[in-house]
Amino acid sequence: MNIYVLGVALHPAVGNERTMRLEEMAYHTARSALDHAGISRKQLDSLTIGACDELDGRPISSMLMSAPAGAYNIDEIKVTDSGASALCLAYARFLSGESELGMVVSWCKSSKTNPESVMLLRGDPFYTRPLGVGTAVSDALFAQAVGEEYGVTEQEVNERVVSAFRKAAGNERGMRHPVPDEASLVASPLDATPLRAAQRAPYTDGAAALVLATDTFLDANPECHPLARLSGVGWASDSYRLEAKRLRAMNSARAAWQTALSRAGLKDADDLDVIELDSQTGYHEAAYVRAFGIKKQDAVSPSGGPFAQNPYFCTGLVNAVEAVLQVSNQAGAVQRDGVRRAAAHGCHGCAQQGNVVMVFEAAQRGGQ
């Protein structure tokens, strides 16, 4: 069975969405994805939501959010790890024959609920929480670990950050933040050693949606044209402990990467034309490029990744949309030439406890 992407949508990048409630953001994004796919909501038979109660600011947030996201009298489920994780479960739902036409929707209004506070609440009450380990500290521990493991220098980190901002500046779907120079990065304050404030991707508000369908649906609806084929997904988690061994090994990232490529029938990073990485800092990009064995630097995050927009919980799913746009030649100003296969990466949890990789191919169906 093949699984195709029929339509995608992103909420317009914004640092602080003051004109819409969260449910309105989800509604407009889902509506846009359905329109992009050329189908109606009533045709859907499944919805897979990626959302986090704590970031949404209410318990069982899918009660309020499921209908705006497209679920009304259909099979809906919510995954709380990340938006990209929801795409993985949707992939399984399709392969198991449960769905023929479904949508994956995820969102995050970072301006409404401070992600740092939520991450602090994720600390176990006995050891981690009293230490105040949240996003900044755990990312800094990761930066220290991979810096030592791979010999990543601050100069390389700064070059990667400037490059990411420069690519993001060309992405009409991104924030188009001003591109900093390396001197300003070095001068920015240390959030937690060795991580400086300007080396981190700024949080934004956003939402992402993808409409997925099987061969069966497309056979019955020849007027629908796929944008891409979802050829493989992989996900894995690491230990909760923030010890150096775990941080240096990046085991879950490697496992997710290898699983997704294997399912897609690919050998290594050289088989991919674009790889959209969820690099929350310059250290992350330096680490992931090495862990994934990416040699083609120009294949890395042409969208700018989180430095274009970073709706924290769903940044991985934003990357998936960017990857689909690349293989369907619809990426606009950041489009790369001749993209046949693109991978999207997402990570979640303290110091990237979980990693997700999704592989998309140009749609090869019925001569399209």
Binding site: N73, I74, I77, C88, L89, A92, E98, W235, S237, Y240
Partner: protein, 397 residues
């Protein structure tokens, strides 16, 4: 080509208000180890994990599944958390079923824990699930909204509070044989009627307890079933539906998901039962394990899943139709959710109790000759409904 999905091992702890002897993560580990022991498996035999965890607001550690990851042997594995409110456990089983049936993994452990009594009053947390502009200040809670539901149902079908009480009497009597049940005992209709009124017509005994504990279930494909189980239960049907958040929209004449008779249950039931080739639930299903945290929710599920006609389940209750001994169908031989409600894993426990009946592992609760059993879970004021059909052999798909 999809894979057959079998239940290979299950485990649940005793449920009570508090488990002061273990942390949340340790509770989850107890369940994981218990299910692996039951299946004769080691952590290496488990390919992937689905964590069943409803709002972590109850226990105060956000996304506590991450804290528990090492405890359930998840480091290095594909792990995912599912959360659909009260329906979480059922949704988690369905997600595990998807991972196996799709062919992505050979075996999946569904595991979770609940520690709801960490919050002094769960109803105050549950008030926060409602709309902050219109509904929270009324104040809506699960108790008050189900009270509206019960009032309408009793009025519509001509039943009384005594009919509700009869469900409680049967449930607590059944739970006497369940070593893990939180509430159990030989209570009388008069004692139920005399219990304190919480929200008319719901009295204290009509309402589930706040339970803590943990549970796990291991699913596998046919190859794993041959290796690890001599009598597995097979998941022959699984389905869920979500309807509108807004209760008012479910009360209009033109609604297509009516609140008081809970039509969403009928839609899910028809789908899941059809997948399992069940055409006559009353005669083909021997055991139900319904998610029924209120005494009003048992008859509605019996009616909407096709065990009896709408508006007749309470009358049949009077005649003993739903008794374990001498009844037409053994309804909640475990005592059900009325006796034990650890929200994060309640749907999972329902599925475990149903699967155990197929696997002949229900102990003193065992009903003889069970070929098919059904479990359910309900979340978000009956906004989410999930149904799983277990059989003693693969049927349907």
């Amino acid at each position: 080509m999809t894979e057959t999905v079998a239940v290979l091992g299950t485990f649940q702890t005793p449920f009570r208000t508090r488990h002061l002897d273990h942390t949340f993560a340790e509770q989850a580990q107890l369940a994981a180890v218990g299910a692996m022991n039951d299946a004769g498996m080691t952590p290496d035999d488990v390919d992937a994990i689905i964590f069943s965890l409803a709002p972590s607001h109850f226990m105060g550690v956000a996304d506590a599944d991450r804290w528990s990851l090492d405890y359930v042997f998840g480091a290095g594995k594909p792990v995912m958390r599912v959360h659909t409110g009260g329906a979480t456990g059922g949704s988690a089983v369905q997600a595990g079923y998807n991972l196996i049936r799709s062919g992505l993994y050979r075996s999946v452990m569904i595991v979770g824990a609940e520690r709801i009594a960490e919050t002094p009053d769960a109803q105050k947390v549950l008030n926060l699930i409602f709309d902050q502009f219109y509904e929270r200040d009324m104040p809506l809670s699960t108790n008050t909204t189900v009270a509206l539901w019960a009032t309408a149902y009793l009025h519509r079908h001509g039943f009384t509070q005594e009919d509700m009480a009869r469900v409680v009497v049967r449930a607590r009597r059944n739970a006497l044989k369940n070593p893990n049940a939180h509430l159990k005992g030989d209570v009388t209709i008069e004692e139920v009627m005399a219990s304190p009124m919480i929200s008319y017509p719901l009295k204290l005994f009509d309402i589930c307890p706040r339970s803590s504990g943990s549970a796990a279930m291991i699913l596998g494909n046919m190859d794993m079933a041959k290796s690890f189980s001599t009598r597995p239960a097979f998941i022959n049907g699984a389905a869920s539906r979500t309807t509108t958040y807004w209760l008012g929209d479910r009360m209009t004449p033109s609604t297509d998901s009516e609140y008081f008779d809970c039509k969403i249950m009928e839609q899910v039931g028809q789908f899941a039962l059809r997948n399992a080739r069940i055409t006559d639930p009353l005669n083909q299903i021997q055991v139900t394990e319904f998610y029924d945290p209120y005494s009003i929710m048992t008859p509605i599920q019996l009616e909407q899943l096709g065990f009896c006609a709408p508006g007749t389940a309470y009358r049949l209750e009077r005649e003993g139709y739903w008794n374990v001994e001498g009844g037409a169908v053994a309804v909640n031989p475990s005592g059900g959710t009325l006796c034990t409600n650890p929200i994060a894993v309640t749907g999972l426990v329902r599925a475990i109790d149903a699967a155990n009946q197929i696997m002949r592992k229900a102990g003193t609760m065992q009903v003889p000759g069970v070929k098919n059993a059904v479990s359910s879970s309900v979340g978000g004021i009956a906004q989410f409904y999930n149904c799983t059909v277990f059989g003693d052999e693969p049927r349907g798909h």
